[in-house]
Every structure is written in structure tokens, then in C-alpha cells.
């Protein structure tokens, strides 16, 4: 059958493929014999040129390809090098420059999926690389040129989160001239920075430098500030997001002059969130003095007036301007934006889960955030550092570092970035106010990595702050004096210390927001194992999300200090600005193509489309596709059993050609793996980047979504004698195409049932949900599947061939 197709393709146009095998220095050449792979590639059908070179992506390498396209009249190019997620755009551009349609380029991933994961087995690595090249060549022969559709971009932006990162990003975009919607969950913007007293390393007053920015954001004509609001729904795609924001009522109207008379009469009092519970606020309140918008809000969870019954009218009576209205209802605002910046920030670690530090039980153990409020002149103690038990100014203060960072016990393995410098700053602040205070800092490592940081560290040392390496194992309270004893091991002097202090300050780390899962769902983002949002590329696209048109700023992406947050915010604004300035974006030509003459108008594709981009025209007995709404998952093509619909650039023929290439030699030793571009393929890439070693059985076929994997593909792999098949995609709920991977699950379950009915071991078909950060999960699945491959008996394979033999006949295409 392949022969037939080849001859047909030849009739249309002589296919001339050029294959380039990249050494990538020793990254590939170290464990793959590139020259042999190139030699092998030259023997493959349609290949007119095959060569290996040191760096294909270099200018020289690219110039070579361009030259060959012109001189050798190449009309397909295959590069065997790194992941297409990294360099496909580079080589596509090379082809375009030489006048070749960029969809006539194909990549074989022999670095992340081969050389890096089989470092110590050159023979097997080379064999696998040959197979990967063979697959790419087989697909390349069937590639077709395509034209990309242009999508207009709405010139408005949504910024989620009004901390310093969100404010900076909004201001940058607004100053450029774009309309910005800044959505903040809390009643005021300002975020974490508003609570901090001073900033390191320059010791600027935090709120003094933030307040003007907050006020600018509040009054900017291009910024629409939506406080006390939450994003409830995001639909659409890059350039054309439809956003719904739930605006919760403040119960205080715009007439409020912020005189504060209402607060005096309110009978309700609770600890204030802004001061971390160290001060009291009332049922009607303003979060802090510099709040933007400068108005009041009623906390309906506490107010006595519930369900429309006015029980207490004290605030209403006290308000001269009659600005209080209990009738206001939540409003859902809807608008269109082109780009989204996620600046949702981070939470602080709650140290009460560590019983050995006694936080919450010992009164004189406080957190660094509570310290910030205590040392702040506008804070509850008026700038006096007092210890909670007797409200006296402490003489001896101990700082404990890495509470909720870099420890397995707290479940947070990462470094929170800011705590070291924050403590050094705090110690200097104490020394500034009360020079006689004795200060001990217990640390693991002091990380003073930034500009001016080391200087500050030295200043603290010179000021007499004592740094002791080794965290206390325990903090015990002296019941009489309420002093604390810190007991631990000094790892530099190799001795046990027991130090008495008036109070201990726990330097708490940052952690991902508890509600970041909601944002993740809304925007189909990925998160790393620590819970922070995952960028598209850690080095070269550090502010882009994998989802087009979405960018990150601030601690939502990883813990960082104010300077880095602001830098990233401006970067995100610039990235979003680039898209909006251009005004349009091209979408990959991976939308479906239909063959109306074959369509039976069964409507299956209409049902599975996550974007409602397909509609059934009953009169004409065919389906119609709205290309602009299509996300490009290919679920419809997988569902169509009559061959009336297929996905551009991932056609049935191309994928089948890849399956056939894998199963041509020794299929009984192989794993045919289908990986989705966004999660599991990226996860496999991550395994490669991390050099996680696994057996070389797998041959990965990339699809945009696991929903593209049709039952007939799996059946064909078994019919051709493959030992095992892996279908993998994003975790359920994390699908980049809304919910297309639920179809994957359904199809795999159907296949399992079929295999069971026919007496096949259903273990031979595996389903894996792996995110882009779960390289180890992918690698261990490979190890697990290797044992399954080893245990599959030849008669099982024969049986599989027989059971699914029909599919080889049935899949015939025009």
C-alpha cells in the first residue's frame, strides 16, 4: 500500500527529500553515530541528499539547507536534531527563506528523545535514531504545502492580579496606548509589596514607592480597574479571548468620600488581613490607608444585614453622603481582549504545620511577614518591634531561615529566593532603630546573588549580626519569661548550640497560590511540581505561557523579589504589546480538511469538537467548519471513520506512514508511542533535558492532542505486530484543547474492552497522563513498558495481528 501511495505522489511531483543529521556538538554525536544515520537515510525512498553536520541550526548549517533547496531542487526537508518544540520554527523559516513552503519541513527528535536518554548505549541509540529518521522521511514524503490563516488581534489586554507585577504590566501597556482591564480579587490593589516595610537592597520605603504607581494605575484613562472581582470564565484563543469577570459588590457606592465615620459605629471587629491579624478591622473597612480605589467595603460574611434584612443600620445613619447601599448585587462584566497577563502572585508558607518551631503555640515566635507589619511605622505597633507576649522591645532576636523552603518536611523543595535578603534587610532595620539589639541568623546557605546583595550582607555582618550555620531543630518556650530557646547543631563548628532569645522570627517562604488551579483551568496552563505556572521555554521564552497570547509576570511563575517581578512585568507587557501592535497573528495550518463526497453526515465530529467549530448542514448532508474558531486538536479527524475529515499536517496517511515505518523491522521489540505536543511530548523532552535514562524501545509520534489518536492507529500498530502501544496526553482537566483528552480516554477504554473480548493482554495498550514537568513519570513508564515488551510472547503478537487484521484492509484513502 505504501508503494501505491508513493507512486501516486511521484506522479504529481517528484518528491525530493534532503535529510540533515545534526551532531549538536557531542550532544547527539556522543551517543549516536550520526554519519551512519546519514548513510542510512540516503538509502530511504525519495531521499536525494543525506548529510551530517556539526550544528545544523547555525547560520552555516541553515545556509547549507537553503543552498541545497535551490541547487538540488529539494522539495521536502528533514532535520534530525533536537525537539521540534525548540527549533522547528527556526528551520521552517530557513525553508521559507529558500522559497519552500514551511509545511514541507519535518523534524526527527534524536536529541531529547534519543541521544540524551540513551547516553550509554551508542548502538541502540543509533538504531533508534535511524528509526526516528525513517519515520520523519516517511511523513515528509506525504507532507503538503499549506497557507496559514490570519487572525486579527483585539487591541485590549487583561491583567489578572493587582500586585506590583500586575500594576507595572498594566501601566506599561496603558502607556503604550492599549486599553487594560486590571482584575484584582482583593478590595485594593497593591498586593504583597504594600505590606512590606522596606525593600532590599536599597532600603527604600516599600509603600512610598508603590503608592504612586497604585494611584497611577487607579487614575489612568486606559486602565479599567476591577477590584473585589474574579475572572470566572475565559473562552477563545490568542488575540480573541472572551472574558467574564464577576464583580462582587462593595455595598459602598462611588459617593463615598472615605471619611471613616461608618467604621467608628460598626459593632463588628475581626483581625485585619492586611496586618496579618495584628490589628483589628471592622465589618465596614478600607484595607489600608493608601488603598486604591480609596473607598470602603462591607464584609458581607460578617455584616449583620443578611438576606436583605436590615438588622443594623448604624453605618447607614453615620454616612452623611448616603453612600451605603445594601441592595447592590454581584455583576458579571463581559469583554473581549487580545492578550492576557497572569500576575496572580504567591502565598506565604504557613509555619504552623511545623510543630518543632511552635508557631501559633509560642507567643514570641512570629513570621517575617508579621515582622514587616510590626516594624512598619503605619503598622499596628506604630513601628515599634514588640514581642507579642508582653509588648516589650526585644533585646535578643533570632531569625530562622528556610522555613517552608528547601525542605522535604514542609513539602517545599525549592528555594523561595527572597527570604535570605529579606532577613538581612530586617536585621539591619532592627540595628537601625535599636543598635544594641543582639541578632542571630540561623541559616543553611545565605544566597546573596543579586546586584548590591553581597554589599548588604557584608553591612549586616559589620553591624554585628551573628550568622550561625545550621537551622534549629527545635524552638522551646521558657514558661516564666516567655523567652525562646533555640536548640540545634552548628554545622560549621560541629557543636550543639542552645541560644536564648527574646523572640524568634521565622523567615517564611513563598508558595503557589491555593487558587492557582482555577486560573490554570481557565487558561489551560501548566504548572510545575512546585505549583508555579510553567513558562513556554525556561531560557528563551521565560514570560510566555504555552497557551498563545498568555504571559506571566511576578511570583505566579516562580518566587522572586520586587525588582525581578517588575522586570518580568515589563517584559510581559512588551511581549503582549508586540502581538497587539502587529494587530494580527497567523494560526498554524492544522485545521481540518473535509471531503464532502465521503461524508455521511453522521455528526460524530460535531459532537466531539471542543470549540463548537463544526456544524452539521443537514440539507447538504455535510459538515461545515469555522476555521477561526478551530483550535487544531484533531479530535474530529480521529472520530471520523469514513475518511471524510482529516487534520492538515497530521493527516491519517502521514500518521499511518509513521506507524508503518516503526513497525517495518522488529515490531515485536518496540513501543509505538503517541504523545501530545503540549504535555506528554514536552514531558518526554524534559526527561531528555534532565538526562533521565530509559530503555530505547519507544518511537514517539507527535500529535497536537492525544485526541487526534484514532482507534484505527492503535489497531494498525497491533496489526503490524507492535509489542505495545502508548497513548499519552495532558492530565484530565489540563487539556490544551479544553476537554479533547476525554475523547482519548473513551477511545482507549473502548480499545481495552475490544482487546479483552478478543483475548489480548490489555496491558499492551497503555494510557499515560503526564504534564510537561513530569519527565520522570514518562521515563518510569518507559521502564515499566520495557518489562511488558519483554513479556509479550510471539503468539500474542500473532494473535494481535489476526484480531486487528481488518484494519489494514479497511484504511484505504483516496
Amino acid at each position: 500500500m505504501t508503494e501505491k501511495k508513493e507512486s501516486k505522489a511521484k506522479q504529481e511531483e517528484q518528491v525530493r527529500i534532503g535529510v540533515y543529521v545534526c551532531h549538536c556538538g557531542l550532544n547527539i554525536a556522543g551517543s549516536v553515530d550520526c554519519a551512519e544515520v546519514a548513510k542510512y537515510a540516503a538509502t530511504l525512498p525519495n531521499v536525494v541528499l543525506a548529510q551530517d553536520n556539526r550544528y545544523t541550526c547555525s547560520d552555516q548549517g541553515q545556509a547549507g539547507i537553503k543552498n541545497d533547496i535551490k541547487e538540488q531542487r529539494l522539495n521536502r526537508v528533514v532535520v534530525a536534531s533536537c525537539s521540534p518544540r525548540l527549533h522547528e520554527p527556526t528551520f521552517r523559516k530557513t525553508c521559507e527563506d529558500a522559497g519552500l513552503n514551511k509545511y514541507l519541513f519535518e523534524m526527527a527528535n534524536i536529541r531529547e528523545h534519543c541521544s540524551w536518554v540513551h547516553l550509554y548505549d551508542k548502538e541502540a541509540g543509533t538504531e533508534k535514531a535511524k528509526d526516528l529518521v525513517k519515520m520523519a522521511v516517511a511523513k515528509a514524503a506525504l507532507l503538503e504545502p499549506a497557507v496559514e490563516a490570519e487572525v486579527p488581534i483585539t487591541r485590549r489586554a487583561l491583567v489578572i492580579g493587582g500586585g506590583v507585577a500586575g500594576i507595572q504590566a498594566s501601566l506599561d501597556l496603558a502607556d503604550t496606548g492599549y486599553k487594560v482591564y486590571l482584575v484584582e480579587k482583593e478590595p485594593s490593589i497593591g498586593g504583597m509589596m504594600a505590606r512590606i516595610d522596606k525593600t532590599f537592597p536599597t532600603m527604600d520605603c516599600s509603600i512610598c514607592i508603590l503608592a504612586p504607581k497604585m494611584s497611577d494605575a487607579g487614575h489612568h484613562p486606559n486602565i479599567e480597574l476591577l477590584t473585589n472581582s474574579e475572572v470566572s470564565e475565559v473562552k477563545g484563543y490568542i488575540g480573541n479571548f472572551h472574558v467574564k469577570v464577576l464583580r462582587k459588590p462593595r455595598y459602598v457606592t462611588k459617593d463615598c468620600s472615605a471619611c471613616g465615620e461608618c467604621v467608628k459605629v460598626c459593632p463588628i471587629a475581626v483581625p485585619n488581613e492586611f496586618d496579618v491579624g495584628l490589628a483589628v478591622r471592622h465589618g465596614i473597612y478600607t484595607p489600608f490607608a493608601q488603598a486604591v480605589p480609596s473607598t470602603y467595603i462591607i464584609d458581607m460574611n460578617l455584616c449583620l444585614n443578611k438576606d436583605g434584612v436590615i438588622v443594623c443600620d448604624k453605618c447607614i445613619k453615620a454616612c452623611d453622603r448616603q453612600a451605603i447601599s445594601f441592595e447592590t448585587k454581584p455583576v458579571t462584566e463581559e469583554f473581549e481582549v487580545g492578550t492576557i497577563i497572569v500576575a496572580t502572585g504567591a502565598d506565604v508558607f504557613d509555619p504552623s504545620v511545623l510543630p518543632n518551631y511552635g508557631y501559633g503555640k509560642i507567643p514570641n515566635v512570629i513570621t517575617s511577614l508579621e515582622f514587616e507589619r510590626l516594624i512598619n511605622a503605619g503598622g499596628p505597633s506604630g513601628g515599634h518591634l514588640i514581642r507579642p507576649s508582653d509588648r516589650q522591645i526585644p533585646k535578643r532576636v533570632a531569625f530562622v531561615q528556610c522555613v517552608g523552603s528547601r525542605s522535604e518536611k514542609s513539602g517545599r523543595l525549592y528555594c523561595s529566593n527572597v527570604c535570605c535578603m529579606n532577613t538581612i534587610k530586617d536585621s539591619l532595620l532592627i540595628k537601625e532603630h535599636w543598635p544594641d539589639t543582639e541578632i542571630c541568623v540561623f541559616y543553611v546557605d545565605i544566597r546573596a546573588y543579586g546586584k548590591g546583595f553581597e554589599d548588604l550582607y557584608q553591612r549586616a555582618k559589620n553591624a554585628g549580626v551573628v550568622f550561625i550555620r545550621g537551622l534549629p531543630a527545635e524552638i522551646v518556650e521558657d514558661k516564666k519569661t516567655h523567652n525562646v530557646w533555640l536548640i540545634g547543631e552548628n554545622t560549621l563548628r560541629k557543636g550543639v548550640y542552645k541560644i536564648n532569645a527574646d523572640m524568634a522570627i521565622l523567615s517564611i517562604g513563598l508558595e503557589a497560590r491555593k487558587d492557582s488551579e482555577m486560573i490554570q483551568r481557565l487558561l489551560t496552563l501548566s504548572r510545575n511540581q512546585d505549583g508555579f505556572f510553567l513558562e513556554a521555554h525556561p531560557k528563551l521564552r521565560p514570560v510566555d505561557a504555552a497557551t498563545g497570547g498568555v504571559f506571566f509576570a511576578g511570583c505566579a511563575e516562580s518566587p522572586k523579589d520586587i525588582k525581578d517581578s517588575v522586570t518580568q512585568a515589563s517584559a510581559a507587557a512588551a511581549r503582549a504589546g508586540i502581538l497587539m501592535a502587529k494587530g494580527h497573528v497567523t494560526v498554524e495550518a492544522i485545521t481540518p480538511i473535509t471531503f464532502p463526497e465521503k461524508c455521511t453526515a453522521c455528526g460524530l465530529c460535531v459532537k466531539v469538537c471542543p470549540y463548537n467549530a463544526i456544524s452539521l448542514n443537514k440539507d447538504l448532508k455535510r459538515v461545515e467548519i469555522v476555521e477561526a474558531a478551530c483550535g487544531g486538536c484533531g479530535t474530529c479527524a480521529a472520530e471520523c471513520n469514513v475518511g471524510a475529515l482529516t487534520q492538515k499536517h497530521f493527516t491519517d496517511e502521514q500518521i499511518i506512514a509513521q506507524i508503518d515505518a516503526i513497525t517495518e523491522n522488529e515490531p515485536e521489540k518496540k513501543i509505538v508511542a503517541f504523545c501530545c505536543n503540549w504535555c506528554s511530548y514536552a514531558g518526554a523532552d524534559f526527561a531528555g533535558v534532565s538526562r533521565m535514562q530509559y530503555p530505547p524501545n519507544a518511537r514517539i509520534i507527535r500529535t497536537m492532542c492525544s485526541g487526534r489518536v484514532a482507534q484505527r492507529f492503535v489497531e494498525r500498530a497491533f496489526a503490524r505486530g507492535a509489542a505495545t502501544v502508548l497513548v499519552s496526553g495532558c492530565h484530565l482537566g489540563d487539556c490544551h484543547y479544553i476537554n479533547a483528552n476525554y475523547q482519548t480516554q473513551k477511545r482507549v477504554e473502548r480499545l481495552w474492552k475490544k482487546m479483552e473480548q478478543n483475548g489480548l493482554d490489555k496491558q499492551r495498550l497503555q494510557l499515560l497522563w503526564a504534564s510537561a514537568a513530569e519527565g520522570e513519570k514518562f521515563a518510569s513508564k518507559m521502564r515499566e513498558m520495557k518489562t511488558i515488551v519483554d513479556n509479550v510472547k510471539p503468539e500474542d503478537i500473532e494473535k494481535g495481528k489476526k484480531v486487528f487484521a481488518k484494519v489494514l484492509e479497511a484504511t484505504k484513502y483516496s
Binding site: 496579618v276 491579624g277 438588622v311 512570629i366
Partner: protein, 101 residues
């Protein structure tokens, strides 16, 4: 202070008592019941936002169960009980005596 503090609900994350509690300490309230005027409609019990009142076991002159004060310190002087009482049988005043201090 301890008693007042119980009237506030401390969220999990805030482990230290506010430092300015004294300033916001509300006045002590006294609830006056004219038991024999009560006809046992239960409005005051139903509508009290702080659930200060409950039905008692005793029987008054009108043959019904008048309310009983459960925890006077929880009262915040909204006076809604006296507003809803159809028989003017309940009212709240601020405590004048100093011995509470």
C-alpha cells in the same frame, strides 16, 4: 480580653492576637426582658444576628415560654430584638456600672 477575643473568630493563618484590641472593645450591653409581656412569638430569638437568646423552660403569666439570655457578652447592641418585638417586651441598654472592669 480573653473573653472578648472569643467573640471574634480567628482565621487559621493569623495566630497572634491583634495589638489594638483594647481600642475597639465595644461597650457591655444589658438585655432587659419583661417576661410577663412576652407572648412567645420567638421573633427576637429568630432574628438576633448573634444568637444571644433562646427559648426558656419557664412559663410566664401569659402561659408561654419567654426567651432567656444565653450569653450577654455576645450582644452588640443592634437593638433589632426591641424593634421586632410586637409587645415591647425586650430592650437593650448599655451597662453603666464600672464593676465589670
Amino acid at each position: 480580653m480573653q473573653k472578648f477575643w472569643r467573640r471574634l473568630s480567628i482565621p487559621e493563618k493569623m495566630r497572634h492576637a491583634p495589638l489594638d484590641l483594647e481600642k475597639v472593645k465595644p461597650a457591655k450591653m444589658e438585655i432587659h426582658l419583661i417576661k410577663d409581656e412576652c407572648k412567645g412569638c420567638g421573633y427576637c430569638i429568630e432574628y438576633c444576628p448573634k444568637k444571644v437568646l433562646e427559648e426558656s423552660d419557664e412559663i410566664n403569666a401569659r402561659g408561654v415560654h419567654p426567651p432567656r439570655v444565653v450569653d450577654e457578652s455576645k450582644c452588640i447592641n443592634c437593638s433589632f430584638c426591641s424593634i421586632v418585638c410586637p409587645d415591647f417586651a425586650i430592650f437593650v441598654t448599655e451597662k453603666k456600672n464600672k464593676e465589670e472592669k
